[in-house]
């Protein structure tokens, strides 16, 4: 059942892609993703996976080449971060509109300016409406597992969409963590060979990326939206399969000690681990607090959220990005809007935390909970720990 290794998470993510025997990788390096790019090329150059590695000249071309390769029916992986993801932004919605199941590993990083290479979620958040399935990993094990799951979900005929796996830059990418690496034959059993819906080849001629006139554009968008919304069924199915085979459980929203909780923290990504410790400590002090961790950000798990907040009176949503001039952090505004129709809904408060690599401590999370419980948040959202 896999072997336990101590491995840097960025490298582990490339190893996970290798276990999926990708055909093409097109990657442009950027901190903190670079080790993924380097290790993928290593895997190809060492002949461990029979694939083409394209040393593209930019991220725009990375995703473009990925689309071209996926168009031929190849299994394709790419990876990026921050400025690179934004540089891809023109092509992101096209990849999903063309229904090509590319897998992209994202080492989440702040966006310029000022230029900052450290972690937050301000790269993926502006890209959230591009029609990709989005996973968020808490730790190295989840990065590995989700990378493999991503291929299976995206390639499913009921889905046919690209998937991104988000891992926090440095906090995850550069950490050496204990990881159970699945064996090749286990992955082969889990992930069937990719049979594309259509492929660019003269034996079966197709035109991809045609022009949508006003008479058809809305219908095309609806069909993409439905595919993404419905993909949650497949995601859950794949996660069930994974649990059966590998014994590790995945849920769109993972609840921690929320059964009798009055108040709950909500996180996405690696800060969930710190928040867990904070919950434990507060529990010891008698505070009825729990934690919700979002693992599936797109499609947004509405039903799971509604179930998860049952009985909770105050929901403390943490965001890792600002929606400048908006109603609050992106996670917060989506959660609050999702709960609007609920007859019994919690008060939802918002802290924007850990911007550009700012550390958030256990004590920090405890403080957020305490203050939220007292109803002491005067503004719509607070950039936690900001000086001044």
């Amino acid at each position: 059942m896999g072997k336990r290794v101590g491995m840097e998470v960025a490298i582990a993510s490339a190893e996970a892609a290798a276990l999926c025997k990708f055909d093409v990788a097109a990657v442009y390096p950027i901190t903190p993703q670079s080790h993924v790019a380097e290790h993928l090329s290593d895997i190809v150059h060492e002949g461990r996976v029979d694939a083409s590695f394209i040393t593209v000249e930019s991220e725009h071309s990375a995703l473009s080449a990925a689309i071209g390769a996926a168009g031929t029916g190849a299994r394709v992986v790419t990876a990026t971060s921050s400025q690179g993801l934004l540089y891809m932004s023109e092509v992101l919605p096209i990849a999903s509109a063309m229904r090509l199941p590319i897998v992209m590993i994202i080492a989440n990083r702040a966006v310029s300016g000022p230029i900052n290479i450290w972690n937050d979620h301000s790269d993926i958040m502006p890209m959230r409406d591009t029609g990709w399935i989005s996973f968020f990993a808490d730790n190295g094990q989840e990065v590995v597992d989700m990378t493999i799951q991503a291929f299976k979900v995206g390639e499913d005929r009921r889905v046919m969409l690209p998937v991104n796996v988000n891992m926090d830059g440095f906090q995850l990418t550069h950490m050496v963590e204990p990881i159970i690496m699945p064996e090749q034959e286990e992955v082969d059993r889990f992930l069937p060979a990719y049979v594309p819906y259509a492929a660019l080849h003269p034996d079966n001629i197709v035109s991809m990326g045609t022009l949508g006139m006003p008479e058809i554009y809305a219908e095309a968008q609806k069909s993409k939206d439905v595919a993404l919304v419905n993909s949650i069924k497949v995601v859950k199915e794949v996660w069930k399969d994974w649990e059966k085979q590998f014994g590790r459980k995945y849920e769109p929203i993972q609840s921690y000690r929320t059964e009798d909780a009055d108040i709950a923290l909500l996180t996405m990504g690696s800060m969930g681990e710190t928040a867990e410790i904070a919950v434990d400590e507060l529990r010891e002090q008698g505070v009825k607090v729990g934690l919700l961790k979002i693992k599936l950000w797109r499609p947004f798990p509405f039903d799971e959220l509604k179930k998860a907040i049952k009985g909770i009176k105050v929901l403390v949503v943490t965001d890792r990005a600002i929606s400048f001039g908006g109603p609050g952090g992106p996670v917060f505004s989506e959660i609050r809007s999702a709960l609007y129709d609920q007859p019994k809904r919690p008060k939802v408060v918002n802290y924007i935390i850990g911007l550009g690599g700012r550390d958030v401590t256990v004590e920090g999370f405890m403080d957020m909970v305490r203050r939220a419980a007292k109803g002491k948040l005067s503004e719509r959202y607070e950039i936690y720990g900001v000086r001044g």
Partner: protein, 332 residues
Amino acid sequence: MNTAMKNPKSIIENFEIYAPKLVSKEEFFVGGHRACQGCGEALAIRLMCKALGKDTVITNATGCMEVISSLYPTTAWKLPWIHVAFPNSAAVGSGVEAGLTALRRKGKVADRRIKSVAIGGDGGTMDIGFQALSGAMERGHDMLYVCFDNEAYMNTGIQRSSGTPFLAATTTAPAGKKIPGNQVWKKNLAEIMVAHNLPYVATATPSYPIDFMNKVKKARQVKGPSYIHCFVACPTGWRSTSETCIKMGRLALETGIFPLYEVEDGKYRLTVEVPEKRRPVQDYLKGQGRFRHLTPDQIRVIQERVDIEWEALMIKVKHSKSRESLRAPRGV
């Protein structure tokens, strides 16, 4: 006035009269596409496809040709075709090549060579797609890139590009009282491609269809990157009449404005003879509304420049040497 009639000698020398009869009758780019009347770019694509044949995948940049050929739920293409965006057809085409190569090697598709061919207009190639083109060519993919240069952004309404000739009027470089049209000389992309050490670079125009198709066939055979710069008339954007589409390419050649040559591993060769005494540039400029405002002085400046460029090209034709034996090994 038909230049072929006026100058039948050059035609008969350069164009086997019955050669068109021998061209494959199979069409891969069919009628029903929405290009303007007399569109040189649509014609060039039709001829290119004939020369490429069926074992081809086309990647098309956004632009006139993508728009006029792919109105969902129909397509004018009888070849596998993909369009993604404006700046990236070279990158997408490189991915197509990488995908096909990997799948073939891994036995997942039939074991035969399918050529990846990326195309774009001058805007999609020389401006916004320039970086992607440079990258794809430099990386040594087994692919052909064809730029269809109609010397402006036609799809969006005739704005200037780096392919727009000096002083031509466009909608973003109009012939104003103070500034008479485009203020800089046209970028020579074929030369920039030669500087990428490509095994094969050529210039072409559908006005010389057999020459063009031969170049496409040659480029197709190259195992590695190749580039063709195809000069195409756009009656709409040039403010010329639709029936003069072919004549424009011929005049561009006969004046020396757009010479037809190929560069094999650095070795230059003229593929279509130009009359010893080149025609004055005026002959080419006068039939086009975009040059209507030119003064005799300005035309003289253009003539001088064309003469200098011509001589520079002749030196290359005479003195360049093939570097074929020194081609970089192309791995994977």
